[in-house]
């Protein structure tokens, strides 16, 4: 609930609340939690925007969506125009409106945020995108005449999908390769249905296909063919968007015990393989009664909230810093709290204990305190000596985040890789290897959907430059 503040000089400082499924109800289903604004709500929220001349919000958006303009179009009740404005900069508004960490991007810089609640930019973006989807408007974008050039896009996450659609619109023949059985990357295997309905992702994939992009699923680049093999056949250029899919572990004793999952395994079973519909869907996901999720990012929130929905009695999020440092999207932290997930801040696991039959039965922890800020600017957690304690748990999900997927780097000897395993490239996504560009999590090491999209778009245009000159 947002704090009530007195409006000043005609300013409305209170944002319109998002209608949501009640916590007690949504704890038992995988349906979308946030139900979206109604037309009246959208109109009211848009009405709060004061159309700042300086447009600070636009600076906060990694792809610089013309926020005041798309909101103005809502104010003027011209949703088609709003869609047009938005789509000048983003092809996935229905997704970003739902999953962007708005509070640290566009909304952070909103003028209204200085005195009250910033405009709910993400919610409005979602509203407009959903409106368009419901209209079933399938307006084909303008397609450039064929250039006769062929580009391979590796990985079908938000980055790969964006690169593929940009390049197709520019007139190139595009083939998209995906290792898994479904396109969408983290949007389908990581982020749960209750936060991002898969139907929306599928809609985006269908749109990319409608542009003539050929999608080859079940194809692992680095195994079925290498980048060099692609370049030596009839591909003129490659965009690599393979993401950060390598799970990180704590490296503490007992971490391989049974019932300790990586977040990737846990979320893949739950989301991609639809274990929540087991046995109708064949993939099982064994769940205990007391689950500890280690970490404080979006991945941890998703794992914790899936655990609740899969029937765990108690779910703990164990994070080594405090609530303020949690990298997760604020809205999801609040949702998790409402869903009765218990947070153990300033706590770090130091080991796992076996029940004698190699199943985890408890987690050894130590309390932490915050010391000096580290390189990331966040205060570094330091263990408090002698504060060790044991927590009884029968299921653990390690959600520390992911490292870059090594398959492509490992099979491409002349591709420059940083010591973190990310692909090194310039500001336009050009790698050290001729005719190869990259972007998204494989370059950043793990960031956001919108930044992966932004990088893909820049790289796609750089590829285009290269191909036509």
């Amino acid at each position: 609930m947002e704090e009530q503040k007195k409006p000043k000089k005609g300013l409305n400082l209170n944002r319109v609340d998002m209608p949501k499924q009640e916590p007690a109800v949504r704890r038992n289903n995988f349906n979308e939690v946030a139900r979206g604004y109604t037309w009246d709500m959208a109109l009211e929220e848009a009405g709060r925007c004061i159309q700042c001349k300086k447009r600070p919000c636009v600076e906060g958006c990694p792809v610089n969506i013309d926020i005041p303009e798309f909101i103005k179009a809502i104010q003027e009740e011209d949703l088609s125009e709003s869609v047009r404005v938005m789509e000048r900069k983003t092809s996935l508004p229905g997704i970003c409106g739902r999953v962007c960490p708005q509070e640290s991007q566009c909304e952070e810089l909103c003028t209204l945020g200085k005195k009250g609640a910033p405009i709910a930019i993400g919610r409005l973006e979602r509203y407009v995108a959903d409106w368009k989807r419901e209209q079933g408007i399938a307006d084909m974008p303008e397609m450039a005449p064929s250039t006769g050039k062929k580009v391979a896009v590796v990985g079908s996450g938000p980055g790969g999908l964006t690169a593929a659609s940009e390049l197709a619109k520019l007139g190139h023949t595009v083939v998209l390769f995906e290792a898994l059985q479904v396109a969408g990357g983290v949007l389908v295997y990581g982020i749960p249905e209750f936060r991002l309905p898969k139907e929306i992702v599928q809609g985006e994939v269908d749109f990319v296909k409608s542009l003539g992009v050929e999608v080859h699923l079940d194809t692992v680049i680095g195994i079925n063919m290498t980048l060099d093999e692609l370049l030596n056949s009839d591909y003129d250029a490659i965009y690599v968007g393979t993401g950060a899919g390598l799970p990180m572990f704590l490296r503490v004793p007992g971490e391989n015990l049974n019932m300790i999952y990586s977040a990737n395994e846990f979320l893949t079973r739950a989301n991609l393989m639809k274990a929540y519909l087991y046995p109708d869907y064949a993939t099982p996901l064994k769940m205990g009664r007391r689950v500890a999720v280690i970490g404080g990012g979006n991945v941890a929130m998703d794992a914790a909230r899936c655990s609740v929905r899969l029937g765990a009695e108690e779910v703990y999020v164990v994070y080594r810093r405090s609530r303020a440092e949690m990298p997760a999207r604020l809205e999801e932290v609040e949702n998790a709290e409402e869903e009765e997930i218990q947070f153990h801040f300033l706590t770090n696991p130091t080991g796992f204990l076996s029940d004698g039959r190699s199943n985890v039965c408890a987690m050894e922890c130590i309390r932490m305190e915050l010391g000096e800020p580290d390189a990331s600017g966040r205060r570094r957690p330091v263990p408090i000596e002698g504060s060790d304690f044991v927590m009884d748990v029968d299921t653990v999900v390690v959600a520390l985040g992911n490292a870059p997927n090594p398959l492509v780097p490992n099979t491409t000897p002349d591709l420059e890789i940083s010591r973190w395993g990310t692909i090194v490239c310039d500001e336009k996504g050009k790698t050290s290897k001729a005719r190869v560009w990259a972007g998204g999590d494989i370059v950043s090491g793990g960031a956001t959907v919108i930044s992966a999209m932004g990088e893909a778009k820049i790289a796609a245009h750089a590829i285009h430059e290269y191909l036509i000159t």
Binding site: D218, N264, T268, M273, A282, T283, P284, R357
Partner: protein
């Protein structure tokens, strides 16, 4: 979609399937596996490839119908299609001229070891194969193994007059004879329990022993960590670092077996699941 070209029942509950999957067929090497999904609601099922025809673009695998998905697979027929088929996954088995090699196989390993044995023979190795089967009725693939190996030793339960119900005695004999007739390498594709016991037999004699680890897998490309195991103090993923590992360097077999049996229940008829030390029983 990946059409099924042939299906054959080799023994009760043991089937061979031939699938058209040109991309997989074009690159597969001995010891590698593929992951398939039967239909929209299916799980990702790993199977080791037992044969292939690069020209026709087909691959074979042999599976044991032990549960829900493999049962469904066993009911499919030529003309039916699999939704997904991805591979070849995992590292190929390490093959070179070792000298005298002993291969120990049971279950699907009987079929899955065949390409390995052929490749070993091509490199000029002498191959002794120990074939273990729970009873004479469930022996399959014996003739083929006899064709490609220099010698086949049968280890079978029941009272069919064979040497021993498990591979352990014949292996013990080979190890005891090791000084006179050296065994240069041992490869095992069987249940976790048998592989573990075999490793203990060969450890004192320091005979290089390589096991084919098949823990639970989800993606099979190094993304989920379900298949992790500890080898020489390091956490490794069986799907990308394996499945072949030096059995003497594999640690924490108990944990590995417990993890492997996470989803074991009464429905699973596979013998190896029912060992007394298993966490799930």
């Amino acid at each position: 979609m990946f059409p099924i070209i042939e299906r054959e029942e080799l023994a009760p509950s043991v089937h061979r399937i031939r699938v058209e999957a040109p991309l997989v067929a074009s690159g597969v090497q001995p010891g590698q596996f593929a992951i398939l999904i039967i239909d929209e609601k299916g799980e990702r099922l790993p199977f080791t490839l037992s044969d292939w025809d690069r020209e026709k673009g087909t691959v074979d695998f042999v599976f044991i119908a032990i549960g829900k998905s493999t049962g469904q697979l066993a009911s499919m027929n030529p003309g039916d299609k699999l939704d997904h088929f991805v591979g070849p996954l995992g590292r190929p088995t390490h093959i070179e001229k070792f000298g005298n090699v002993t291969c120990i196989v049971s279950g699907y390993g009987i079929a899955a070891m065949k390409p390995v044995i052929k490749a070993l023979k091509e490199k000029g190795n002498s191959v002794t194969t120990i074939l273990q089967s729970p009873d004479p009725e469930r022996i399959f693939g014996r003739e083929e193994l006899e064709e490609i190996s220099d010698r086949v030793i049968l280890a079978t339960g029941g009272d069919a007059g064979f040497t021993d119900p498990t591979s352990l005695k014949p292996l013990q004999a080979l190890v005891e004879n090791h000084k006179e007739q050296p065994v240069d390498r041992i490869l095992i594709m069987s249940s976790f329990c048998l592989m573990r016991l075999c490793c203990e037999i060969t450890r004192p004699a320091k005979i290089p022993t390589f096991v084919h680890l098949a823990p639970l897998m989800v993606d099979g490309t190094g993304m989920c960590g379900a298949c992790r195991c500890v080898v020489e103090g390091e956490t490794r993923f069986a799907c990308v670092d394996g499945p072949e590992f030096d059995g003497h360097l594999v640690e924490s077999w108990d944990v590995l077996m417990a993890r492997r049996c996470t989803y074991a229940d009464e429905l699973i008829g596979q013998q190896s699941f029912q060992c007394a030390t298993c966490s799930q029983w």
